[in-house]
């Protein structure tokens, strides 16, 4: 869990540079490194380099057969319950959003959960979707109110203290969404303008601490940010490109601008009580990377982002 190599630390510094899109203060505790006041120059959240956020628990060599989870394991508890409880959102198009035609919640994140349900039950539909507020993503996994959180959640060291993360399933980067008539080409041009992010996200902290001094505006969800944007209440929205792509897909008069500000590796969060479940999830992810399931999922939801890249490589800490 400690720093291993200077090279890794250097990479991590870049990774954590502008914080993540998730809840900045996951659990009530005295201000941790990520909740500190901004330093005079540079990013607000002092990068926490005390761990390797991309590195998760090593999976077992073989997956148990669906419907035959080992006795005593958390997967067995889920199997006996008859459904996997997935915590996610319902307003992030492409990742987890409510399909207005069917009323179902679907997307890349939801499919990640469905693949886990499939591995446990042999049926991806044995899943209960619980919508959790953006600022409750870590606490919901921590207190066991959901089995698994997959909600554009960035793995970082501050959060590793409260929950276990799976291996990385998606690499995002932070950018800015503006009106197509706007002259702004990035966060640097938005000084004094209103920029929206979800309440409790580190995207919001990123706006607060941006050197160009934009005016931060918080809304409950990024969908509400898009409403505020379309009602001319804010001038821009800043968060991960993956989320912005979903917002941009709903409004032809916007564009996503700016160089990628930071790397945001998405992983699923699991309570620290059940490391065997985290290992199981990692095993499913490893299998799906290898057999092309990951690529098909990407192509299903994110075709607008171009051809599917190679899946993020798994890293393990033990």
């Amino acid at each position: 869990m400690r720093i291993r190599a200077a090279a890794v630390a250097a990479v991590l510094t870049v990774l954590a540079a502008a914080g993540c899109s998730g809840d900045s203060t996951p659990l009530a505790r005295p201000a941790g490194p990520s909740a500190e006041a901004p330093a005079p120059a540079g990013p607000a959240t002092a990068p926490d380099t005390s761990c390797r956020p991309r590195a998760s628990l090593r999976p077992p060599a073989t997956l148990p057969e669906p419907g035959k989870m080992p006795a005593g394991s958390y997967m067995r508890t889920i199997q006996d319950r008859g459904r996997l409880v997935l915590g996610t959102g319902q307003d992030l198009l492409l990742f987890s959003s409510r399909n207005p035609f069917t009323g179902r919640i679907e997307g890349f994140d939801v499919d990640m959960g469905r693949q886990i349900a499939d591995a446990i039950f042999g049926d991806p539909d044995k899943i209960q979707i619980k919508v959790i507020p953006y600022d409750k993503r870590i606490s919901s996994a921590h207190d066991g109110s959901v089995d698994l959180v997959a909600n554009t959640l960035t793995a970082n060291c501050a959060r590793w203290k409260d929950v276990d993360f799976s291996t990385i399933y998606y690499d995002a980067a932070k950018r800015v969404l503006v009106s197509s008539t706007s002259k702004a080409r990035g966060m640097g041009d938005l000084g004094g303008r209103k920029v929206c992010a979800a309440r409790g996200s580190t995207s919001y902290d990123g706006i607060v601490s941006a050197a160009s001094k934009p005016v931060p505006v918080a809304r409950d969800t990024f969908g509400d940010c898009l409403v505020a944007f379309q009602q001319n209440e804010v001038d821009a929205i800043s968060t991960d490109d993956a989320i912005l792509a979903g917002l941009a897909a709903q409004d032809p008069f916007v564009e996503v601008v700016g160089e990628p500000l930071s790397q945001e590796p998405y992983a699923m969060a699991v309570s620290k009580e059940h490391p065997e479940f985290t290992r199981f999830v990692n095993a499913v992810l490893a299998r799906n990377r290898a057999n092309g399931t990951w690529k098909r999922t990407y192509e299903r939801w994110l075709p607008d982002l171009g051809a599917a890249p190679k899946p993020p490589a798994a890293e393990y800490r033990d």
Partner: protein, 439 residues
């Protein structure tokens, strides 16, 4: 004639400096002087009584009319605005839950709700004086309702195109409704309730009535004393005109007592059988709609049981208590309607518990199906229809009682001063006859 007399009598009552006071004192020492004094006092009292009787009747009439034509309708309109907005919010949330293209039935209902709210708002604005909390609530509502309608319209337009931002528009609209529109409507409702309470006290015009009673008693006593004085001074047992004046005074007193007592009895009935149950039933309907809204929003949020579900439990407890109270306090017709509503509420809460159980066990789609499906909607309609019937019944009762309360007040406004005039003429005639004897 009486005014001419009044002019002459004025010095006798007005505390005037030295000379006049001296003259009045001197009058007491001669027999015709005493008669003149008595006449002046009688005419003054008669004129005042007539005036106050007219004012009392007019004030009571204005108060009663204001209560019946402004305060109580304002209360009903405030309830209409509140319940229409709450229902619109719930309907929009249910249309969202239904998924796909929103059901035409729900669209119609939402539009009817909005129409009801804006119509009631326009007419409530006419009944509200500028300044004050009611007017503030009305202007806030007038500004926010179009914004709300615009947000819902955007939600529908986005929904039609399959864009999830429609859901965000809907939740923004719902937040506006719950955090601004409904509290404003509630403020208007409370303010209307206060105006109804004030209306009852205005309609009773207690101060004027008390003054009238004092004047009538004083007049009667003065008339009796004057007759005793005359019969002793002139050795005639009866002075017929004064006797007639006494009779007229008694008639005036009895008429006033009958009309005002009748009005008060009607007002009391209008309050206990009309205003109070109307307010309680209105409150009950608001609570019922709140429950339904909580249920829909809990499902729409899809986050399990949260703050809305707690609010449901709390609201449900209040409603159960309120329904029992109303049933205890009301007559047969309303009682039947409220009994139906109570049963509807019990069934609805049972259905709601089932909805929660389904959702909690992961069967979200079944929970939605049960919540917005035909049977639960019918059960809930039994509840709201029962309350609506009770409300109509009580409103009709109120209108009847208030109309009865106003009856007679108009004639008293004319009759009071007229009888006073007659008694003044009689008193003047009776005493002048005796005064002639000293010429």
């Amino acid at each position: 004639m009486s005014t001419a007399q009044l002019d002459r009598a004025a010095p006798a009552v007005a505390p005037a400096p030295g000379g006049v006071l001296h003259r009045v004192r001197r009058l007491r020492h001669t027999s015709p002087g005493r008669l003149q004094l008595i006449l002046a006092v009688l005419l003054t009292l008669g004129a005042l009584t007539g005036l106050v009787a007219g004012i009392t009747a007019a004030a009571a009439r204005t108060g009663t009319d204001d209560l019946g034509e402004r305060a109580q309708p304002l209360l009903v309109e405030a309830e209409t605005i509140y319940s229409a907005l709450a229902d619109a919010d719930t309907t929009a949330a249910q249309a969202f839950l239904a998924g796909g293209l929103e059901p035409a039935e729900l669209t119609r209902r939402y539009e009817a709700d909005l129409h009801r709210a804006t119509t009631a708002l326009t007419s409530a604005a006419r009944r509200t004086a500028p300044g004050g909390p009611a007017a503030e609530a009305i202007s806030a509502l007038s500004a926010d309702i179009p914004r709300y309608a615009a947000l819902v319209a955007s939600a529908r337009a986005n929904n039609r195109q399959g864009l999830p931002v429609g859901a965000s528009y809907l939740s923004t609209a719902s937040r506006l409704s719950r955090e601004s529109l409904q509290p404003q409507a509630q403020a208007l409702f409370r303010s209307a309730q206060r105006e109804v309470d004030a209306g009852y006290s205005d309609a009773r015009s207690s101060w004027w009535t008390a003054l009238l009673v004092v004047l009538l008693l004083t007049l009667l006593v003065t008339l009796l004393l004057a007759q005793r004085h005359l019969s002793r001074a002139t050795r005639r047992t009866f002075n017929l005109p004064l006797l007639a004046a006494t009779g007229v005074t008694l008639l005036l007193a009895l008429t006033t007592a009958a009309v005002l007592a009748g009005q008060r009895a009607r007002l009391a009935d209008a309050r206990t059988d009309g205003s109070r149950p109307v307010a309680m039933l209105a409150e009950a309907r608001i609570l019922a709609l709140r429950e339904r809204g909580d249920e829909a929003l809990t499902l729409a949020a899809r986050a399990g049981e949260g703050a809305q579900e707690k609010d449901f439990d709390e609201t449900s407890r209040q409603l159960t208590g309120l329904l029992a109270d109303i049933r205890r306090q009301s007559g047969a017709a309303t009682s039947a309607a409220v009994t139906a509503a109570t049963e509807g509420h019990r069934d609805y809460v049972a259905a709601h518990d089932e909805v929660r159980a389904l959702d909690n066990s992961g069967r979200y789609d079944d929970a939605v199906e049960l919540a917005i499906g035909e049977p639960t909607t019918r059960t809930f309609t039994v509840l709201t229809d029962g309350l609506g019937r009770g409300l109509e019944d009580r409103k009709a009762d109120f209108t009847r009682e208030i109309d009865d309360a106003g009856r007679g007040l108009g004639s008293l406004t004319v009759l009071g001063p007229l009888l006073a005039l007659v008694l003044c003429v009689l008193a003047a005639a009776g005493i002048r006859a005796r005064l002639e004897e000293y010429r």
